[in-house]
Symmetry: C2
Subunit: 121 residues, 2 copies
């Protein structure tokens, strides 16, 4: 047994890039990804899977076509599959995203903010 805990602070200290998910753990075929976010992302959806957001530090708004949810540190939300959403953070915010391995951050929308997948730290 490799018995090293994942420490979120320590992992976040290893990178500064925004909108660039870093995988820190995997459970079955699901991955835990730490992400620094600031500004507005792109509208997209994930047709085949729900997607979990947990805010570790800061504040994140997730806009939907018919509403929005605002998450503060210590809060989470599960975006259902197929629901278009657009994450926004006025100030830099640190989040954890949990979703199946292989899910692309921009869904089918693509564009400049599409990050490399499966990057572990």
């Amino acid at each position: 047994m490799t018995c090293v805990p994942v420490n979120f602070e320590e992992k976040f200290s290893r990178f500064k890039e925004l909108w660039s998910p870093k995988v820190v753990a995997q459970m079955n075929d699901y991955q835990f990804k730490l992400v620094r976010v600031q500004g507005e992302f792109v509208w997209h959806d994930h047709p085949d899977t729900d997607e979990t957001f947990i805010v570790m530090d800061g504040e994140l708004e997730i806009k939907f076509r018919d509403g929005s949810v605002t998450l503060k540190s210590g809060e989470m939300f599960v975006v259902p599959r197929g629901i278009e959403h657009c994450p926004v953070a006025e100030k830099e915010c640190r989040i954890m995203v949990i979703e199946p391995a292989g899910v692309v951050n921009t869904g089918d929308t693509g564009g400049d903010l599409t990050a490399d997948n499966d990057v572990w730290i």
Copy 2:
């Protein structure tokens, strides 16, 4: 869209029982369960799934037959499927467990600490 975030503090304020997982969210067929723990649990494993532990507050030791890992607030660990483990917390500790819906907290071991499953708060 129902747009209410899950606030961990608020959810924990709703129950006091130990070793009694409360479901707060579901992503596909996986559930997020908040648990208050103190003392020593029972040795068990989950032959069909990994199991994720995140410590929200306090300190949790997870003992294995050949070692252990100690998690503090802001740390996580994924126990691989089939690995016998026994969670222990000297003082009360608040954790989140993430695993497929239907997983029983004591695995195949059973006993008095077996909790009702799929209890939402």
